[in-house]
């Protein structure tokens, strides 16, 4: 069974095609990087995969773990059951600031906990233990009872990964998970995603701006330009010339030669330092 299957997916915002006949298949247990210049449609594609956005009326279909997410612009009625199998890691972490790290992680269980209990935030001892174990796995169980807002970006992102673990996700979608992090935190978060892929057998689709990191962590790379998949294959087959053209005139173009390390965007570095 394919972990992710996208066929003929299109999405038009106004007159602009954000996704244009996208086909994509991920086997269970694969780790794939999604690259492309800003505005190429990476986030839009990932958001279609978990059914946050609906495609065009004749815009193809999306299956995750063999279950329908959307078809021809209609979201599946039981999309929540499918989402429960997808761990989503966002660029801005999307944790709830005023809840503790543990509660944030336990929200990964909401799809399993009966609603009368979840609405009262009553989690059993076993469920808490599960949350703490996931936090320990990503190395931040010491902060379990602190509010999410009191933690660094890297720690928050690792909590988001812990949430996906608690969820029992079979697929992890990560939308630029390290774009707001400093190099050291970035490395930890990428290592964690690789571990989730290796130890838990999750299929991971991660969009990245840093091509060198994509090459370092993922055997397979999918590249997008103007909403179309323009490359899908082994990372080793990406030529510097292709990458150059992929990023066009952007500042990234000169940084994709294999040896170079991509500098973090200054704003992200400042945010991480603050």
């Amino acid at each position: 069974m394919l972990a992710i299957e996208v066929s003929g997916l299109s999405k038009t915002f106004g007159s602009r095609k954000a996704l244009d006949d996208v086909h994509l298949a991920l086997e269970a247990g694969e780790m794939v990087a999604l690259i492309g210049a800003s505005g190429s449609g990476k986030s839009t594609l990932l958001r279609h995969l978990s059914g946050f956005v609906r495609g065009d009326a004749d815009g193809g279909e999306v299956h995750v773990m063999g279950e329908l997410v959307q078809r021809n612009g209609a979201i599946a009625a039981d999309v929540r059951r499918v989402r429960a199998q997808i761990g989503f890691v966002f660029q801005q972490f999307n944790l709830v600031d005023r809840l503790t790290l543990l509660t944030n992680v336990l929200t990964g269980l909401l799809h399993r906990v009966p609603t009368h209990r979840s609405l009262l935030k009553l989690f059993t001892r076993e469920e808490r233990a599960l949350g703490l174990k996931a936090l320990a796995e990503v190395g931040i169980d010491d902060y379990a009872f602190q509010r999410a807002s009191t933690l660094s970006g890297g720690q928050q992102q690792r909590a988001a990964i812990a949430r996906a673990l608690v969820q029992g996700a079979k697929v992890v979608l990560a939308d630029e998970p390290i774009a707001s992090l400093d190099p050291e935190s970035s490395r930890k978060v990428m290592d964690m995603l690789a571990r989730v892929n290796r130890d838990h057998g999750c299929a991971v689709l991660v969009s990245l701006h840093q091509v060198d990191i994509a090459l370092q962590y993922c055997k397979r790379v999918v590249a997008m330009r103007d909403g179309r998949v323009v490359f899908d294959g082994p990372a080793t087959e990406l030529s510097p010339a292709f990458l150059q053209s992929l990023y066009g005139g952007e500042a990234f173009a000169d940084a994709v030669t294999p040896a170079s390390v991509l500098p973090l965007q200054p704003s992200a570095a400042i945010r991480a330092a603050a």
């Binding site: 059951r81 929200t107 609603t115």
Partner: protein, 268 residues
């Protein structure tokens, strides 16, 4: 950047200043015209203040010294007033939570939030005194009518404030919750409520403060508490006692305002 073209495009010789002062002149002119037009309607007779100055002085003198003979009854009724305010506010907060969420355009579709908003507008538009008089007919004289009056009016006020807080939340944590396969209620409990909680608590306390003031007024139409006493002593020309009652109200309201605003500050 965006300023430069605008500056460059401004035609030479056209000074923006006269236009602005013309505008404010118009506003002031309208305000003065409205005041002048309302002079007769409001029965403005400033001279009466001077002509009757002697009477006023006698009248004012009758308030002093305040007569605290019945202070026990007054304090007891003041406590009833606080109890009215407390129950009225608590019930209103309870109702304002679902109503406020239903009024929020980012939570509910228009066919839900538009009608609920209109109902809340009505609850807010009508003063507590009016509700109190209506409820006295329904449930009889006494504090319960006051509680009902405060409840309905305050629900209307808080629902609006609560929904505005909900509309101003950051949607991304909610999306984070949604991504786990949570249902809509769970999205609200985990994603929305934690974000709005400090504001909601602050609004609720603020309304409790003003409900203490309102509760002493609804008493004047017979809805229980210190207002009933105030009405009686004024009507029977017992000005020294009126003064004592007013002082008791001032002390209680001020103290509770202070306490409540300390709590609000601590929460924000």
């Amino acid at each position: 950047m965006s300023n430069t073209p605008a500056t460059a495009m401004r035609a030479p010789g056209v000074d923006p200043l006269p236009r602005r002062s013309l505008h404010s002149l118009l506003v002031w002119g309208l305000l003065l015209a409205a005041l002048a037009a309302s002079w007769n309607g409001a029965d403005m007779r400033p001279l009466a203040l001077f002509a009757d100055a002697g009477n006023m002085a006698v009248y004012a003198r009758e308030f002093f010294p305040p007569d605290f003979t019945h202070w026990r009854t007054h304090v007891a009724e003041m406590i009833v007033t606080l109890q009215i305010a407390l129950w009225g506010s608590a019930l209103a907060v309870l109702c304002a939570i679902p109503c406020g969420l239903l009024c929020a355009a980012n939570i509910t579709p228009a066919w839900i939030h538009q009608p609920v908003r209109r109902v809340m507008d009505a609850a807010r538009a009508i003063n507590e005194m009016v509700f109190a008089m209506l409820f006295i007919v329904a449930v009889g004289l006494g504090p319960f009518a006051g509680v009902l009056a405060l409840w309905v009016h305050t629900t209307g006020v808080l629902a609006k404030l609560f929904s505005e807080a909900v509309e101003a939340i950051d949607p991304s944590p909610v999306e984070g919750i949604r991504a786990t396969g949570a249902n809509a209620l769970e999205e609200i409990v985990y994603g929305v409520i934690p974000q709005v909680m400090p504001l909601w608590v602050s609004y609720s306390l603020y309304r409790f403060e003003s409900n203490i003031r309102s509760a002493s007024v609804v008493g004047m139409v017979g809805a229980g508490g210190i207002g009933v006493i105030l009405y009686e002593v004024i009507r029977s020309f017992q000005y020294a006692e009126t003064c004592a009652v007013m002082l008791i109200i001032i002390v209680f309201v001020t103290l509770l305002d202070l306490v409540s605003s300390q709590i609000r500050k601590a929460l924000l």
